[in-house]
């Protein structure tokens, strides 16, 4: 049964997740300041870091990692599927506008 956090709940693991989130945030700030990438590449890198941070928050802080497989996969697959559909709507047109130079 998955009631209130039936898994092994040590404070240490949450502390380390918090530290990891702060470090990833610091990396993002440094990348934003240094601007070593082009804007589109920067968008991709920052999104990748954000996805890693959100996985840490959802998995550990929100305890989804410890829920049943059915709940875990149903939630993740349905939300990701909706985002993919949004992507099909938005970005091909954004890229077309960028390519043909219409401002």
């Amino acid at each position: 049964m998955h009631d209130i956090a039936t898994h092994d709940d040590s404070k240490g693991q949450y502390f380390w997740v918090w530290v990891a989130l702060l470090i990833l945030t610091a990396i993002e700030v440094v990348l934003g300041y240094k601007q070593v990438f082009s804007p589109v590449r920067m968008l991709e890198v920052l999104l990748l870091l954000s996805v890693i941070k959100s996985a840490l928050i959802i998995g550990w802080f929100m305890h989804l990692k410890f829920e049943t497989a059915l709940m875990r996969w149903l939630l993740v697959i349905s939300v990701v599927a909706c985002f993919i559909i949004m992507y099909f709507f938005f970005f091909p047109d954004a890229d077309r506008i960028r390519t043909i130079g219409v401002q």
Binding site: M1, H2, D3, I4, A5, D9, K11, Y14, F15, W18, L21, L22, T25, E28, V29, L31, G32, Y33, K34, Q35, P39, V40, M42, L43, L46, L47, L49, S50, K53, S54, I57, I58, W60, F61, M62, H63, E67, T68, L70, M71, L74, L75, S78, V79, C82, F83, M86, Y87, F89, F90, F91, D93, A94, D95, I97, R98, Q103
Partner: protein, 279 residues
């Protein structure tokens, strides 16, 4: 089936023999109590709201060339502190859930109060930043007149951005206002769970103080009344459900709070760091 009935009883805090015959109830669909499943479904739908806003922002960001970069070191430092506040609030929220698991009431309240303090700090810092940006001219058509903002610069970098690239203030204010509203609701939610009816007079004092102290020309002069709406809703909920909130409630409000933190993990890099000007 007997095992399923016992699981249902355990989830709802009932003794195993409360329903008599085994198999009277089905097992919970996801192996979790209904409040938690309900909150997860709400968060899944809310993530689509924010997802659509973030996609719209990214769309604007890609096709608008040149995209303005009005955030200098001071703004980024402020936003970084705000991010640290939210991340720290998530840690204290987890500690509140652990205290709830132990049944440690004093520490549930302490950790929830710490979470509320971090959340309030986030809102205050964000509000100060909004006021500064609006004073310097970052606004939308009609935005200042609707909210009664009296002093908005008509020239300068941010005023030029508002005139020439309205996609930027539109995306910035749209996203951050939606998120700020979620954080404010979250702080009220935590206050109700932690302090129940004792939170209502505190919220009323904050609301009245805000209404009296925020000057009429400030952008938050009218929006502060959202606290009054929150007060009424909280009072109605506490009147209808005057219960002593249990460990399940603490865990469910924690899910909401972590979601608010999670959304900011996308807003901060996309809105702020993608609009940074290197000096």
């Amino acid at each position: 089936m007997a095992e399923a009935a016992m699981e249902h009883d355990a989830v709802h805090g009932l003794p195993a023999t409360a329903h008599g015959a085994a198999g009277e109830y089905e097992a919970p669909l996801f192996g979790a109590y209904s409040k938690k499943v309900g909150m997860w479904l709400f968060l899944a739908s809310d993530s689509l709201t924010f997802g659509a806003l973030l996609f719209a922002f990214s769309y604007n960001r890609i096709y608008t060339n040149p995209w303005p970069t009005p955030f200098h070191a001071e703004s980024i430092a402020n936003a970084t502190v705000m991010t640290a506040c939210l991340l720290s609030s998530s840690l204290t929220m987890v500690l509140a859930v652990l205290a709830a698991k132990r049944g440690d009431r004093p520490w549930i309240r302490n950790w929830l109060l710490a979470t509320m303090v971090f959340g309030t700090a986030f809102v205050v810092l964000h509000g100060m930043e909004w006021s500064k940006l609006i004073d310097e001219g970052l606004t939308l058509p009609g935005f200042a007149s609707i909210l009664g903002v009296s002093k908005t610069a008509t020239s300068g970098e941010l005023a030029d951005i508002s005139k020439n690239i309205p996609q930027f203030p539109q995306a910035f204010f749209g996203l951050t206002a939606m998120h700020m509203l979620h954080v404010t609701i979250g702080v009220i939610y935590l206050g109700v769970v932690a302090f129940r009816k004792w939170f209502l007079p505190v919220l009323a004092v904050i609301w009245i103080a805000g209404a009296l102290l925020i000057p009429s020309g400030n952008v938050f002069h009218y929006p502060v009344h959202a606290l009054g709406i929150g007060l009424i809703l909280a009072a109605v909920i506490l009147f209808l459900k005057p219960k002593d909130y249990d460990a399940h409630d603490v865990e469910v409000c924690g899910l909401y709070w972590h979601f608010v933190d999670l959304v900011w993990m996308f807003i901060f890099p996309l809105v702020y760091l993608m609009s940074t000007k290197v000096s």
